[in-house]
Amino acid sequence: MSVRYDQYRKIKSNFMCALSVSCAVLVVLPLVLVLAHLFRMGFSSLNWAFFTQSPKPVGEDGGGMANAIVGSIELMGLALLLGVPIGLLGGVYLSEYGSDKINSWIRFGADVLNGVPSIVWGMVAYALAVVPMKTFSAFSGGLALSFIMIPLVLRTTEEVLLLVPGAYREAGMALGIPRWKITVFIVLRTASKGLVTGVLLALGRIAGETAPLLFTAFGNRFWNHNLAQPIAALPLQIFSYAISPYDDWHRQAWAGALVLVLLVFALSAGVRIFSAGKKT
């Protein structure tokens, strides 16, 4: 090989490396831009009224998104109620009981389900809950969100339970404890931190979901504590304000977006804290 060719190779290598650095920079850029904007535009609007009041009538300035924040929390609670037991028990099946063949099918199915667009789940919840009840409701919104949660929680539960050393199950068996009690009181207990992490991850995912709520929870400008009626949600409120023609509402949309992004980051930070504190 000539020296010239080697030099060319070196230059090319450096160039490609520089290129990959710039890729990384470009990837980080949007996050920096959006966070900067959120803080700049939204922070000033975060006042006491924002957190305690519901929206003012159209055309009036002021008001807040308190009902949307509370509504989002209620929706997440509903989704948890259905999504966590099913996802958890399903993950238990995969890790403690299932055969290799069934398990790989279920895992495959869960992975494919994870890729179904969330708006489709909204349509399913619409047909299952909104149509029979003849009204939009928090129940239907929670249902749609739980569809998203189930495959997520199932996969994370399975992964976490597989990490529990077999020695503990063996020790339980040797004490003559029935298998199901070993699973519930020993294995699940040992894995509890990881299980909570999985749930927090799933919550973080659904906290920001808008599409499935568009025609299930529907949104509500007023306070509503009746779960069988339409309910406000933070992402829904942000969306409807953003596409509205009013500047004041745009301002509030930014504030709401800031709150939402902080909520989502807090959930994933919670994940990190939990994982860090995990004992083997």
Partner: protein, 297 residues
């Protein structure tokens, strides 16, 4: 290092074992008229904990243990010795129906425990495992439970609620495991906060809290330092007054120190079984002799 002669347990006779009634001979001597009745010979027949006939243990199609026939005696310590892979652990795990938990595991032959067929269709394996406890090679106290919770888990998770009973059992079991004095003030600490040797004694306490009839130990000291090992061996000695113990060990000196009877396994077969002193001093089989004199293993 203790030598064989000073610390090997003397063979037990009927008089030494408290609470054991000598088993009457099954065929009383017929007294012929006119003949002088033969002087009654005190027959030493200790109770049989495990009566094993023609046991063959399989992993799938591979036969790991071949045609073992032996009787293990109650309230004795029986050690199972032999080189790695000779089947002694597999054999041990069939005694508390743990072997069947491995996929593809099965066996032929019969195992009777105190006269009952261990593998009878009506025998619930869970109940068997409460009657036959096990201590594992690597101590495995449950990490999310306190010391007290660890000891009592076999009782609590099996439905025992009486707090007074549990507290008493806790203290007794820890005392029997020679751990009470060390942990009595810190029972609320996690089980895993103890040292290695203490954790193993905790596992022993956990196993005997169930008051099993028999205690199986699978190389319980192999992960422990000599001081901790010594404590556990002392423990085994004390426990043998109340419990039947079957212990798998790699360490011949340990077998010599703690056990009354020894079974030597090699390549899946039971080569020789007898009093510990006899196995080590006057082995009948050439292979046994080769192993105990350290020529292989």
């Amino acid at each position: 290092m203790n030598t064989l002669s000073t610390t090997a347990k003397p063979p037990m006779s009927a008089q030494d074992k408290p609470g054991l009634d000598p088993v009457p001979p099954s065929h009383p001597a017929k007294i012929m008229p006119g003949a002088q009745a033969p002087a009654p010979v005190p027959v030493e027949q200790p109770e049989v904990a495990f009566d094993i006939r023609d046991l063959c243990i399989f992993y799938g199609t591979h036969m790991a243990v071949k045609n073992v026939t032996v009787q293990l005696h109650s309230k004795h310590v029986t050690s199972l010795i032999g080189p790695s892979g000779c089947g002694k652990t597999t054999f041990l795990r069939t005694l508390n129906r743990m072997h069947e938990l491995t996929p593809g595991a099965h066996h032929t032959g019969s195992i009777l425990m105190h006269g009952q067929d261990l593998y009878h269709a009506d025998m619930d394996p869970t109940v068997v495992r409460r009657r036959v406890g096990m201590v594992f090679q690597k101590s495995n106290p449950f990490p999310t439970m306190t010391i007290a919770e660890n000891v009592l888990v076999g009782l609590r998770l099996n439905g025992v609620r009486d707090k007074v009973f549990l507290a008493r059992r806790l203290e007794e079991s820890l005392k029997m495991a020679a751990l009470w004095d060390e942990v009595k003030d810190v029972l609320h600490r996690p089980g895993t906060s103890l040292s290695g040797g203490q954790q193993q004694r905790l596992c022993i306490a956990r196993a005997i809290a169930n008051r099993p009839e028999i205690l199986l130990m699978d190389e319980p000291c192999s992960a422990l330092d000599p001081i901790a090992t010594g404590k556990v061996e002392e423990l085994i000695h004390e426990l043998s007054n109340e419990y039947t113990i079957v212990i798998v060990t790699h360490n011949m000196q340990q077998a010599a120190r703690v056990s009354d009877k020894t079974a030597f396994f090699y390549m899946g077969k039971l080569i020789e079984y007898g009093d510990t002193e006899q196995i080590f001093m006057k082995p009948k089989d050439a292979q046994t002799e080769a192993y105990v004199s350290g020529r292989f293993g």
